[in-house]
């Protein structure tokens, strides 16, 4: 067979396989659909998280502005029961966060990369600001409720980050 004939034979076969793919003989759609739906849920949760975080930021800013006005009128700000309660809630939160991280990592899970750590840092800063506000004022039950919400979001976010990573690995 001449070089030209060899080249033509290859070209003919190439044209044939260009038209056709390869049948995988396996069904992948259900696994893909599951991951696609999970990613949709995660995106929704992410949006909800940011809406909540923005709302919390506005609430903190509003409160801080009001507090600065009240500080001018009140020379003394004794430590209140609200602050002590907040400190206790924060201590318990740290124990829960640590326990959750250790539990997941011991079980072989790893935390998802991306902006989870950034979001967790934002929440930790929010907690710090709320607690500081409670320490320096005569106390506000709404702030305590806000603190409870921030702590709750933090646990949810951390839990979700480990769960998601493991699900991806399983597939």
């Amino acid at each position: 067979m001449s070089d030209n004939e060899k080249a033509q034979k290859l070209d003919r076969q190439l044209e044939l396989i260009k038209q056709q793919g390869i049948d995988p003989k396996r069904e992948f759609w259900s696994a893909i659909e599951s991951r696609v739906n999970r990613s949709k849920r995660y995106q929704r949760t992410g949006k909800s998280f940011w809406y909540g975080a923005i709302a919390a930021s506005i609430a903190i800013t509003t409160f801080m502005a009001g507090w600065q006005l009240s500080v001018l009128q009140a020379p003394e700000n004794p430590v209140t029961g609200y602050y002590l309660l907040a400190e206790r809630m924060n201590a318990e939160q740290q124990v829960q966060l640590h326990g959750m991280r250790v539990g997941y990592e011991t079980a072989g899970y790893s935390q998802i990369n991306g902006n989870t750590e950034e979001q967790l840092t934002q929440l930790a800063l929010a907690r710090q600001e709320i607690t500081e506000s409670l320490r320096e004022t005569s106390g506000d039950p709404n702030l305590l409720e806000l603190l409870r919400w921030v702590n709750e979001q933090e646990l949810k976010l951390l839990n979700q980050s480990y769960t998601l990573t493991q699900s991806v690995q399983e597939i």
């Binding site: 056709q20 793919g21 995988p24 893909i32 696609v36």
Partner: protein
């Protein structure tokens, strides 16, 4: 190549319609799987990668602007994802030193219906095969291939020539 899907399904999928995305999946799965398998020459890896490709495609659908045919965009994104994921996998590096004949046997045992030429393509050395698949089957330029694989354009051209010569010889022997 595959016929272009109804543009409505592409539009619906970019808006988050999973049913439309499923229709796109069934329309393109054979072409995408063929491309992935020819690039990695490992059935088990191709099975993993093709799922990863479609999940990432779903996430990237928003970046499809309609400047090119959907299928053109799809295969380029597939190539990008596939080459990136393959670099991440340690077994990919292990394959670089393995006997390519074993790879072909592994694929054949997977029960796939492949043409004679496909079986021979899978016997080519790694980089030679990737260049050949991307240029001869996907119609990509040597410049684009060189960028993807991190090689010189001249190397891409030389690898393509090498692949053609080998395949011509092997086809003659078959």
């Amino acid at each position: 190549m595959q016929s272009e899907p109804a543009s409505e399904d592409v539009l619906l999928a970019t808006r988050g319609d999973v049913d439309a995305f499923q229709r796109l999946y069934y329309l393109h799965i054979k072409q995408v799987y063929g491309l992935v398998l020819r690039l990695c020459a490992d059935k088990s890896l191709a099975d993993d990668l093709v799922q990863e490709v479609f999940v990432q495609l779903w996430q990237k659908l928003g970046s499809f602007r309609g400047d090119s045919k959907f299928s053109t965009w799809l295969y380029r994104v597939t190539t990008n994802i596939c080459l990136t994921e393959m670099r991440k996998q340690k077994r990919w590096f292990a394959k670089l030193t393995s006997d390519s004949h074993d790879v072909s046997e592994q694929v054949s045992e997977g029960g796939l219906d492949m043409s004679q030429l496909d079986k021979l393509i899978l016997k080519l050395p790694e980089q030679t095969r990737q260049v050949f698949v991307l240029h001869a089957l996907q119609g990509e330029s040597h410049q684009q291939i060189a960028d993807w694989l991190g090689i010189a354009i001249g190397t891409s051209k030389a690898q393509f020539h090498r692949a053609r010569k080998r395949l011509e010889e092997w086809l003659q022997d078959e």
